[in-house]
Amino acid sequence: MVFFRKVLGAALFAIAVLAIFLTKTVFAFEAFISNERSGDLISIDQEGETAYVQPICNRPRGMVKGLEQNQLLIACSDDDKILEFNIRTRAVERSFDDLYGAMSLAIHRPTQRLFVTNEGRSQAMVIDLTTGDTLAILPTGLEPDGIAVTDDGTQVFIASENAGLVHVFDALSYQQTAVIVTHLRPRRVALLENRLWVSSEMGSRVEIFSTETYKKIDEIIFAPKGFRSEQLTPVDILFDQTGTLAFVALGAANHVAFVNVKSLEIEKYILVGRRAWGLGVSPDNKSLIVLNGLSDDFTIIDIESRRPRINRQAGLIPHAIAVFAK
């Protein structure tokens, strides 16, 4: 009997160890969060532990992975520059300067071009990442924020918050090709196949447009329980790695929405921190990380079970996140 108990105990222990081991390997990632008010970058792992805090620049905001595997590009809005940060050596390897009020970033790797919105200057810039040259300046409405470039590198979409417009440019000739009228305060743009998703922060919705006709196809209006429409202030939109789920951070409504990309049905609202806005998904498609801009923390959600797994402190005003495989 005693022997049996010992065997059972050992077996359970082994299972527990294996479970922890599996969990760790399955979820393993390293993510970087830009904190706009504390001016630093924090490195977190899948358990939400902060490995280190790196002072980086004044008001770091938009981020995107660079051309090389270990590169992270960081927009420093109050320094008017973009830094190329090596996540392994933790060194700033390069600085692209005179990029007035650099805010959000989009990269087109095949042509090695970086697209950046210049918040206070009603424009976006196109930078050649190899030479550092400015290839074009794209005029937008006031307060340009979200920017996205199509996979084939032929079109770029830029949302202007104040103007309530998305400007469309031919990304080869840099000529404006269309202007899309959106609902109030368009913030972020996300592309999936021939659809453009635009979050309207003051319109409490996500609008979906065709990237061919620029006509509005549909919209998603959010309504988690206990909130009035005006409290829903969506910002980041992110698709999962398979393109079947869309995640939308609902800002002041303190929730993130899981949306079925095909049916546009809102499958789940998950409670997170205050003013949820930045989103990142792990390369293994297991974890969604939500940045909460008013409570200075982040929430890691298990995508499969659709439950928040961890909530931890970030820097001051966490803005953007980039997730790397470990």
């Binding site: 409405g141 104040n162 009228v181 109030l184 003051m202 009035r228 005006e230 202030t233 002041a252």
Partner: protein, 400 residues
């Protein structure tokens, strides 16, 4: 001989001459404005009182990309009325489709609003916070983009209740406006269940026998309270109450923690960009970093931006409205989807029953926004911000 002296400047912003015209008219009566406006005794400036024109120009400046997209040509005019002759003929010169922003003293405002109502012109109150203008002056053409005192005080009292400061000592001035506003404050206090410890009236007299009413230490003595609420419309006496209260208690109302429509130190919701633009958009007349829109200026900016933003939110109706020689402002203001991005974290829209712009209220000190009302846990069944101000069932004005 009736001599009509209309000073009318036309500021047509250079756009291609096609599409619908958007007429905005700013009506003032400069000969009725006191040169001492916003000043207390000895010429001490206690309140910002600027013409609202700069804010109107800012709103037009901000709207230019939208106007280009929707094919709209803005026409901003100013009409400074001559108070020595009839207002009717002077106001009749305003284009019939205009957005008329009225920035005059209150009694003149009432007269002008009634004439504009007869002329069927969409009229915006950007200056007067008196709740009576939303109750008894219930005109189908009249809109208010400046908050009412009731909205300001509801915001303040929500903050007091939220902070656990339930016992309130009310100190108010001797003027007619002070009495009326103290009554409005009382309505707000009872709406949210605060206790009034006592209500006291100050006097400016230094006569020794009046010391219970002219010394801050005495007027705040002999009572138990969590907070002192001061109503001092002229900013004569209230300024001296802070730091001299009998008990060490915070001061709120017209001094100390003040409810406002806009503030230069709001950090979130894009507000720093709007403040920066206000100071710098006119390169010939930049303002120092300490300047920001007053509540009247913000109300002016809000009114024009309500038109601009609604072009995006009215859906297919926008096209039919733009397909005219001029944009019919009343149709926009009456549209159920008329909305504005106010840079205060929540969009604004029109309350149908009294045509007040619903909006959050900032609770501010000199150099900080302490809170943005509605405060947490003050819930409304329909609209998030409708716990501020007269709700539909309480309103005697029922325009809907």
């Amino acid at each position: 001989m009736i001599k009509i002296l209309v000073l009318c400047t036309l500021i047509v912003l250079s756009f291609a001459a096609r599409g619908a015209e958007l007429h905005i008219s700013i009506v003032t009566t400069s000969d009725l404005e006191k040169p001492t406006r916003g000043q207390s005794f000895a010429g001490i400036q206690t309140q910002i009182e600027r013409p609202v024109l700069r804010a109107a120009k800012l709103a037009v400046f901000e709207s230019r990309t939208s106007f280009e997209t929707h094919d709209i040509k803005p026409v901003l005019t100013t009409l400074n009325l001559d108070s020595s002759t009839e207002y009717g003929p002077q106001l009749a010169s305003i284009h019939p489709d205009s957005l008329v922003i009225v920035d005059t003293p209150e009694d003149t405002f009432v007269e002008i609003a009634q004439i504009l109502n007869q002329l069927n012109l969409a009229t915006i109150n950007v200056r007067h916070t008196n709740p009576e203008l939303r109750q008894t002056l219930c005109l189908a053409t009249l809109y208010h983009t400046i908050p009412s005192d009731r909205m300001y005080f509801d915001a303040l009292v929500q903050f007091l209740i939220y902070s656990g400061w339930r016992k309130v000592l009310v100190v108010h001035g001797p003027g007619k406006a002070d009495h009326a506003r103290a009554k409005t404050l009382n309505d707000s206090l009872s709406k949210f269940g605060a206790d009034v410890s006592d209500t006291r009236e100050f006097t400016l007299s230094h006569y020794p026998d009046d010391r219970d009413r002219n010394k801050p230490e005495f007027i705040t003595g002999g009572a138990s309270y969590d907070v002192v609420a001061v109503i001092d419309t002229a900013r004569d006496f209230g300024r001296y109450i802070q730091y001299r209260t009998h008990r060490a208690r915070p001061v709120v109302g017209d001094v100390g923690l003040v409810p406002r429509g806009w503030h230069r130190t709001l950090e979130r919701y894009g507000a720093p960009q709007l403040n920066e633009r206000y100071r710098s958009f006119d390169s010939t007349a930049k303002l120092p970093a300490s300047d920001a829109m007053s509540d009247a200026e913000f109300a002016t900016w809000s009114a024009i931006k309500l038109i601009t933003n609604s072009l995006n939110t009215m859906g297919t109706d926008t096209k039919s409205l733009v397909d005219n020689e001029s944009l019919n402002i009343s149709s926009v203001l009456e549209h159920p989807e008329a909305q504005v991005d106010l840079y205060k974290g929540t969009r604004g829209s029109i309350r149908r029953w009294n045509q007040q712009l619903r909006q959050p209220i900032l609770l501010t000190t000199e150099d900080a926004v302490i809170a943005v009302a509605p405060m947490p846990k003050f819930l409304h069944p329909l609209h998030y911000v409708d716990t501020l101000g007269l709700d539909e069932p309480e309103s005697t004005c029922q325009l809907d």
